[in-house]
């Protein structure tokens, strides 16, 4: 019974989201916003409803996840009239991927990284250079891109292991600027024009630029990338979840909260920080590489400081160290400014104000990290438990 209730709630939210995305006329948009407002108020003002929702979602976690997965799978069918919203949904999923990586660095390990766009750019540019200049297949680029992000990140990070907190913010800002200026001014990276005509993905001869025919419906070609991004985001989120619940995640949390105490317990701070930084950069680089094959070009303005800030906004607004929070943050922050395009030049102003307001009302993010629970259901995950790292 409650499982069906969970699905009804999910379906209701889904309807609201689709309506909010597709509403074009002011009346429709107004009604949707009003409906979302009513739902939010009802859910939060009545403690009973909220408790029912949270407890039933917790008891039926698998069912809830299955429901969400089905809805995510059918979303492109509802957006099929609009390649634009399909693309934005794909971007949101890409930011989920990047967000999980950045969150692993900043949220879980407390290693500040304000050069997310640069690491994404390393992934993207690697794909561009490999495929266009050297003729590699895009799949291979998609694999090597993140590795390059990891390698460059490690080279940057090893000498500055002692640097912490806001000083680390400075170093990463500096790295972000250096990356951007180099991409813009070096010849082999294509200068300000970047790299164009990156070949698209192919799966058994099926090019991702052909509009897919599914269940008798023609979807925009962007739906291919939506599904690819869905797989990527789900995989990365699952990995992040496993890592978070493993000894690695726990160790990183300890290290973040009290480095000295962690050292006292025999944790190799340097190694774990480097590990967290590298895993994070892999996910971030993967997101950037995916971006390159999706849009078919990379250029310096796509990876500038502003985008690093968007990435940071996603994880902070969603909730640092909160894996579901990252998903929520990306799915809100990426479509929201697009939704407000009709505001023209007032858009960024109101976007900034909205973030400030959200932070003031929810200073720990929209979906804050919960306190870790031990020994209840899940046995300690096996990853890293063998102690192979130390």
């Amino acid at each position: 019974m409650t499982l069906i209730g969970v699905w009804v709630v999910e379906l209701g939210l889904f309807v609201l989201v689709v309506a909010a995305l597709l509403a074009e006329r002011p009346i429709a948009l107004g009604a949707t916003v009003a409906a979302i407002g009513i739902v939010a108020v009802v859910a939060r003002s009545s403690a009973r409803v909220w408790r029912w929702v949270t407890t039933s979602f917790l008891t039926h976690r698998t069912g809830a996840l299955a429901g969400a997965a089905v809805l995510a799978l059918v979303l492109p069918f509802f957006l099929r009239a609009s390649p634009y919203w399909t693309f934005i949904a794909t971007m949101a999923l890409m930011y989920v991927t990047i967000g999980q990586g950045l969150n692993f660095q900043m949220g879980t390990a407390g290693v500040i990284n304000l050069a997310g766009a640069a690491f994404a750019g390393l992934g993207g540019y690697t794909v561009g250079l490999l495929t266009v200049r050297l003729g590699f297949p895009p799949w291979l680029g998609l694999l090597i891109g993140p590795l390059i992000a990891v390698a460059v990140g490690a080279l940057l990070f090893i000498p500055i292991l002692k640097v912490r907190g806001h000083y680390l913010a400075l170093v990463t800002i500096a790295f972000g600027f250096i990356f951007n200026i180099l991409m813009n001014n070096l010849e082999f990276t294509g200068g300000p024009q970047g790299i164009k005509n990156i070949p698209t993905l192919r799966l058994f001869g099926y090019a991702f630029t052909t509009p897919p025919q599914l269940l008798g419906m023609t979807l925009p070609s962007h739906a291919n990338f939506y599904y690819a991004a869905l797989v990527m985001a789900a995989l990365v989120t699952w990995l992040a979840w496993r890592l978070y619940n493993s000894w690695v995640g726990l160790t990183l949390n300890t290290l973040r909260d009290d480095e000295i105490a962690a050292k006292c317990s025999g944790v190799s701070v340097a190694r774990y920080k480097l590990l967290a930084f590298s895993i994070g950069n892999f996910f971030i680089g993967l997101g950037g590489a995916f971006y390159a094959v999706m849009v078919g070009f990379v250029s310096p303005p796509d990876f500038d400081f502003g985008y690093s800030l968007v990435m940071v906004s996603v994880i902070i607004l969603g909730g640092l160290d909160s894996i579901p929070g990252i998903i929520l943050g990306a799915c809100l922050l990426i479509p929201l400014p697009e939704r407000f395009r009709f505001l023209h030049e007032y858009r960024l102003l109101l976007y900034g104000a909205a973030i400030v307001l959200m932070l003031l009302f929810r200073p720990r993010g929209l979906w804050p990290a919960t306190v870790r629970r031990y020994g209840l259901r899940e046995p300690a995950a096996s990853f890293g438990a063998a102690g192979g790292l130390r």
Binding site: Y167, L170, A174, I181, E345, Y351, A353, L359, R364
Partner: protein, 307 residues
């Protein structure tokens, strides 16, 4: 090897640039020292200071204050107070409410506030998208020493900037409120127990830092005769970088960091082949190298390593 006068001229250019950076950097370092926060909208407060100054010059012209010295003084005073108060409002709105939240929240909140300020200038200042001419209010003319061209207004700008820094130093070290700031910086809780009014001290710190940003903004306008709403982006990034190279929380460090950054950028552009394209690469790379050897800035405190 370029001729000596070119080297000297470039060093002077770097010094001018460095003074502007230093004034912004001092604000960053003050906020960090007292509250342990990075106030990322500070760059846009700097823009706001410049625009407040520009608006005031129109106001004085409209009410018929013709004497340039008086107008300049009033412009400074007005913009200082105005911007200082806006800084306090920013702190009350975005910094204090998040004092108990993780520090990254303050980072995002102030970044977003900066975006709001920047876009507000773009939209609400008449034709705010355009660069704006800033009136010349300092004595014109120039003289030459050994081939180095020095304008009188540059000397005036250096003097005003220097005076502002000395004044801040005096306020911090010689006044009661300065003592409170130092006390809070060391240990907020203990300071409160000793009777320091925390809220007032924090407010004053933001007033002081933001007023300094206004000085930087007006000097920027006077030096370049032009201001633009996006100048706060790089101003903020470099101001923060300068404060961090110097050592966050250390006022002298911030000044040193600002000068260093200005000189580095200028020398890179001047003496490295294609250096102009890569001047920020050089400047930021040097910053990173500094961080390797001095992970808490040049004049920063050493962190205690107990393990």
């Amino acid at each position: 090897m370029p001729p000596l006068e070119v080297i000297l001229q470039q060093a002077f250019n770097g010094l001018m640039l460095g003074v502007m950076y230093a004034l912004i950097a001092v604000g960053f370092t003050l906020f960090f020292g007292v509250l342990d926060v990075i106030h990322f909208s500070h760059g846009d407060i700097f823009t706001l200071g410049a625009f407040a100054g520009l608006s005031l010059t129109f106001l004085w012209a409209a009410v018929g204050i013709g004497n340039p010295a008086v107008a300049l003084l009033l412009t400074f005073l007005g913009a200082l107070v105005l911007t200082g108060l806006i800084g306090v409002v920013a702190e009350r709105a975005c910094v204090k409410p998040l004092a108990k939240a993780p520090p990254l929240m303050t980072l995002l909140a102030t970044l977003s506030l900066g975006l709001v300020i920047r876009e507000a200038v773009l939209i609400f200042y008449p034709r705010g998208a355009d660069p704006k001419p800033f009136p010349a209010m300092l004595p014109g003319g120039l003289f030459e020493i050994g081939g180095v061209v020095i304008r009188y207004e540059n000397l005036a700008i250096l003097a005003i900037g220097g005076a502002a820094m000395v004044l801040v130093d005096l306020i911090i070290n010689r006044t009661r409120i300065g003592a409170s700031m130092r006390a809070v910086a060391q240990d907020a809780e203990a300071a409160q127990m000793m009777g320091v009014n925390l809220d007032r001290t924090v407010d004053f710190t933001f007033f002081l830092g933001s007023a300094l940003a206004a000085v930087a903004g007006i000097l920027n306008g006077l030096y370049y005769s032009e201001i633009h709403f996006i100048m706060g982006i790089m101003g903020g990034v470099i101001g923060f970088s300068a404060a961090a190279i110097g050592g966050l929380g250390n006022v002298y460090g911030a000044i040193l960091g600002g000068l260093l950054f200005g000189v580095l950028q200028t020398l890179a552009a001047a003496f490295i082949p294609r250096g102009s394209e890569f001047r920020d690469v050089v400047a930021f790379a040097v910053v990173m190298v500094f961080m390797v050897f001095k992970p808490t800035g040049i004049l920063g405190e050493k962190t205690v390593e107990r393990v």
